[in-house]
């Protein structure tokens, strides 16, 4: 699949934003009102900004951004629609949470429930994002049990990786934040390792033979058009295996660096958590790029690919 930058930006940025937002919600649940108005507002702002940038980037990726509102209508069947609805519902919840949590509105009894609601809605939204991909039977690498967990855990990990430096800025750094980040990053490591292992070893269930019904001896002879078309541009992207391996190693390296930064932040200086954030986000971007680039759409079976 074509690793379009808008989609990569959207999923990583909004993933991190929702991760952060969910954590803030849980912070509220745990600690009640925020200890600093500035911390609360800045942290919330960053979370929502990341989400919004992501959503806008995906909206402008549309052929008709002005019609984007229509995307809320098909929640009964469409994960994309559900994601949209969830995203939209999350905003007021998060804002309400922000008002009470930051103390701008003094209604402490709501912090808990709204914190939960914010965390859950964030999770739901990222879940829907993951489902958009995992529900596509046409792309075996996405139609995979780990797609949704990776989306969720990556959101959490990048959220946690952001939470620590933001907290540091406001002198609110706590070792628990590092524990959370490290746990999430380790989970990502494990899931991604499992995912990659799995897709590398998954049997290729689809074949040109099934695509064309012409039997196992079929191969491409003439292309239907000598220049690429939309289908090939969008779905014909293929990353070289060597290149992908390099990038996978880079993702692991960045995740490991993030963990090291996290540990060092806890041990040496909280300011090192900035390193954690940068490394985790970079890992997310590259992982997401690979998520697209390594995904092979079965339509390629009509265009010369033997198995998918």
């Amino acid at each position: 699949m074509n690793p379009a930058y808008s989609v990569i930006l959207f999923t990583t940025s909004s993933g991190a934003g929702y991760g952060l937002l969910a954590l803030l919600g849980l912070v509220g649940v745990q600690h009640g009102q925020a200890s600093s108005l500035a911390f609360a507002l800045v942290a919330l702002f960053i979370a929502l900004a990341l989400i919004t940038v992501g959503l806008l980037s995906s909206t402008f990726h549309l052929g008709h951004p002005e019609r984007a509102w229509r995307a809320f209508s098909q929640w009964r069947s469409s994960w994309l629609s559900r994601e949209g609805v969830a995203a939209v519902v999350t905003y007021p919840v998060a804002l309400a949470f922000g008002l009470v949590w930051s103390g701008l509105v003094d209604w402490p009894s709501l912090i808990g429930p709204l914190g939960w609601a914010t965390a859950i809605m964030s999770g739901v939204t990222v879940f829907c994002t993951g489902k958009i991909y995992s529900s596509l039977k046409t792309i075996p690498q996405w139609h995979h049990g780990l797609t949704v967990p990776v989306y969720l855990v990556f959101g959490l990990a990048t959220g946690a990786a952001l939470l620590a430096p933001i907290a540091t800025l406001f002198g609110r750094f706590q070792w628990f934040q590092i524990v959370l980040a490290v746990v999430a990053l380790v989970a990502v490591l494990i899931l991604k390792f499992a995912y990659w292992h799995s897709i590398d070893n998954a049997p290729r269930k689809h074949s040109m033979a099934a695509a064309t019904g012409l039997g196992p001896g079929v191969r491409q002879w003439e292309v239907p058009h000598t220049n690429i078309n939309f289908i090939q541009k969008e779905m014909g992207y293929a990353v070289a295996r060597r290149h992908a391996q390099k990038l996978r190693r880079l993702v692991f390296l960045l995740l490991a660096m993030a963990i090291v930064f996290a540990v060092l932040a806890a041990l040496l200086s909280p300011w090192l958590s900035f390193g954690l954030a940068v490394a985790a986000l970079a890992a997310a971007v590259i992982e997401r790029w690979l998520f697209f680039a390594e995904a092979v759409h079965v339509v390629n079976l009509y265009y010369g690919l033997a198995n998918a």
């Binding site: 229509r70 958009i132 529900s135 039977k137 079929v218 058009h225 969008e234 079965v298 265009y303």
Partner: protein, 265 residues
């Protein structure tokens, strides 16, 4: 209308005979031509005179070479590919806007160009590559089964068929109701073993493909080979010619007209 109708009144679709298709592209260009000005308009062309011309087409003709089992030679199969108007296609259900829908009355899968936001998700959900995004108009395009022809009373009844079907010079494309077991298309599918593409996807395509027939390049029962014989073939031919002179088919009658003038000059 993103939810799929529970059943459709008809299952209109195409049957494509791979035994006859010569890959002439008539169906592809006729489709582009009709739909470039009908309800699907525009089907734009990008970089039309340039290095990478890329246009929106609803029907594309591939060529495959097949090594058939039990034979040492291959076979070239020309393979047209367009929307199969699946019964349970995810291209419809993934659509967030309802722009993509399957019609309840005839099963045709369409995109509403007024409400499509151009998110392209449906094209990801189609295993058949049948949806092409039109960059100029920012909406998804796909085969409409020429819904603006098949019911169009501006045409005489025999022209109320898809543009590709009307165009196809070999007659490799048939159009009809595959939900009606007695229709011509259903009969054809039954007789020729019409099959589904990507059955494992579970999309239940309406369109069917008829497989290439087996070759007929081995000895046919009942036809004696003409053997090499001993002796002079010329002598035998002479003997045969002698017989011929005496046994020639008698003419029925003699036309009394004088015909000698026909032989002069």
């Amino acid at each position: 209308m993103t939810s799929l109708p529970a059943t459709t009144g008809k299952k209109l679709g195409l049957v494509i005979d791979l035994d006859i298709c010569v890959g002439c592209q008539a169906c592809a260009t006729s489709c582009k031509e009709w739909n470039g000005q009908g309800v699907s308009a525009p089907l734009s062309d990008d970089n039309a005179r340039g290095p990478q011309p890329m246009g929106t087409w609803l029907n594309r003709i591939h060529g495959y070479e097949v090594q058939e089992e039990g034979r040492d030679d291959s076979r070239i199969v020309h393979f047209p590919r367009s929307c199969l108007h699946c019964e349970t296609p995810a291209c419809v259900t993934v659509c967030p806007t309802g722009a993509s829908y399957k019609r309840a009355e005839d099963g045709i899968v369409l995109v509403n160009p007024e409400t499509c936001i151009g998110c392209k998700l449906c094209s990801w959900a189609c295993p058949y590559g049948a949806r092409e995004y039109d960059y100029a108009s920012g909406v998804m395009k796909k085969c409409t089964l020429c819904v603006d022809r098949i019911y169009n009373e501006n045409f005489v009844p025999e022209d109320r068929v898809p543009a590709c079907v009307k165009a196809c010079p070999t007659g490799a494309r048939s159009f009809g109701d595959l939900g009606d077991p007695n229709s011509d298309v259903s009969t054809l599918v039954a007789e020729r073993g019409g099959y589904d593409l990507f059955p494992e996807m579970g999309y239940k395509p309406t369109n069917k493909y008829l497989p290439p027939r087996p070759r007929r390049d081995k000895a046919i029962a009942g036809i004696e080979p003409l053997p090499a014989q001993d002796g002079s073939a010329l002598d035998r031919l002479f003997a045969w010619a002698d017989k011929l002179m005496t046994s020639s088919r008698a003419t029925a009658s003699v036309n009394p007209a004088d015909v000698s003038d026909r032989l002069e000059g």
